[in-house]
């Protein structure tokens, strides 16, 4: 019974995959489904490079067994924006120079997405806490904070709401 079949909804698409009981969700995504936007950094849940959104929650896919994700709804970086159209968060990351080597970026974007979903006007402290599970080793964090603030301000203007707390 080493092999088993699980069903997942990944980026809106239902997938049935045969997997092994001890395969990590991360390997299932990258090797079996070829969704290589999700990265492996530390493999211990500390760096956030393997972050995906599972059942509405930010998680580290290196710390989930594939069968634990049976029946789950998952969004990976490939499910953000659509084809040539970038998500406003992705645009903001590019504009502020929040991307250097790019390895942490998929996880950062997903963490930012989740943060802004729960809190449309995050303060600097709240931004720090929101991405505290994601490490960046190149740009430093300031440009990433700037990107998240920029997109929060834009979305609030678009929605006719008040500005961000640090605006």
């Amino acid at each position: 019974m080493n092999k088993l079949t699980i069903e997942l909804t990944i980026n809106g698409e239902k997938r049935e995959v045969e997997t092994a009981t001890s395969t990590r969700l991360l390997d299932l995504l990258r090797d079996d489904l070829h969704l290589t936007g999700t990265k492996e950094g530390c493999g211990k849940g500390e760096c956030g490079a393997c972050t995906v959104i599972m059942n509405g929650e930010l998680i580290a896919s290196c710390l989930v067994l594939a069968p634990q994700a049976d029946g789950a709804v998952i969004t990976t970086i490939e499910g953000i924006g659509g084809g040539e159209n970038l998500d406003p968060i992705q645009e903001a990351f590019i504009e502020t120079g929040a991307v250097q080597c790019g390895f942490c970026t998929p996880g950062m974007i997903l963490a930012a997405k989740k943060l802004l979903e729960e809190n449309a006007y995050p303060s600097e402290e709240e931004i720090k806490r929101g991405i505290s599970g994601n490490l960046c080793r190149c740009t430093g964090y300031q440009k990433i904070f700037d990107a998240i603030k920029l997109v929060a301000n834009r979305l609030s203007k678009r929605d006719g709401g008040r500005g961000g707390k640090d605006a």
Partner: protein, 295 residues
């Protein structure tokens, strides 16, 4: 590199009874998995082998926080994020809520569970000293019997508990605290996120109706001994006294004197003892000012 192809079975039952049956049949052969945030790190580091997994994710009863008469019942699969966000936990057990909020990162808090934190029994388990301080009891079930044990009797040493292979931790039971109960939570580590605590301290003080006299005290520390510990001498020293006449420095010194931590990569014995004294004083000051707000 991390792929493991050891053949093993996978169970994800929907009912507690089924889980208990599986446990009684396979016992040690099988690993119970909750959030996996500790277990899977150890597994992929090849610290143990498994012949099967018992995944508790489908048992909906385990994911609930509910009040039953004068008790709070927390299911073993309640996540740190749930504890952090629950209004009931914030209201009755603010220290537990803060400790949960200080664990790991959003990613870890969304997966890691209270039951896993308890059963993993790390000397640095962040929820353990708050649970002890709030007089938590654990409900342990097997096909044979039900046992309810106080938190202080559960932990035997680093990663060692009284839990038997056929037993499952199903619930954490906390008495609802009296109105004049104050708490303080202090975690010291090298940085804020994703840190294993160098030392944690929980101080819970119950005051009399008039808010002047100390009725009961729990002073519990983590990362200073093989298990979370209570400094019972503090209780003896403080009970029955007027809070305003307490000697904070003396109480801090008592905590320092009563612990015997070890040197490790997170801090030396000397450092831990020094810090324990200071954070005890800070905790007393915090409770002092919270209390004044109620006068």
């Amino acid at each position: 590199m991390h792929r493991r192809t050891v053949p093993c079975q996978y169970f994800a039952p929907q009912k507690i009874e089924e889980a208990l049956e599986i446990l009684s049949k396979y016992g040690k052969e099988i690993k119970i998995i909750a959030g996996g945030t500790d277990l899977l790190i150890q597994y992929y580091d090849r610290l143990y082998e498994v012949n099967g997994w018992l995944d508790l994710k489908n048992i909906s009863e385990f994911k609930k926080i509910k009040i039953n008469k004068n008790q709070m019942i927390i299911g073993a699969m309640v996540t740190h994020a749930q504890l952090e966000k629950s209004q009931d936990i914030k209201k009755y057990y603010p220290v537990l809520s803060q400790a949960a909020a200080d664990i790991g990162s959003p990613q870890i808090r969304n997966r890691g569970t209270i039951g896993g934190n308890i059963v993993n029994a790390s000397p640095a388990g962040d929820l353990l000293s708050p649970l002890m301080a709030y007089d938590a009891q654990f409900r342990l079930l097997s096909t044979q019997e039900e046992k309810i044990v106080p938190a202080e009797d559960f932990f035997l040493g680093p990663k060692k508990t009284i839990l038997k292979p056929a037993q499952l931790l199903t619930q954490i039971i906390l008495p609802l605290p009296s109105e004049r109960t104050y708490g303080s939570w202090i975690k010291v580590g090298k940085r804020k996120a994703l840190v294993i605590a160098t030392i944690t301290l929980v101080l819970v003080v119950k005051m009399t109706e008039d808010n002047k006299i100390v009725k009961d005290v729990r002073t519990c520390l983590g990362s200073v001994a093989p298990t979370p510990i209570e400094i019972k001498e503090i209780k003896k020293k403080m009970a029955g006294k007027n809070f305003d006449q307490l000697d904070f420095a003396e109480l801090g010194q008592m905590v320092e004197d009563k612990i015997s931590p070890i040197d490790d990569i997170r801090g030396t014995r000397e450092y831990r003892k020094d810090v324990a004294k200071e954070i005890m004083i800070n905790a007393l000051e915090e409770i002092g000012s919270a209390r004044r707000l109620y006068k």
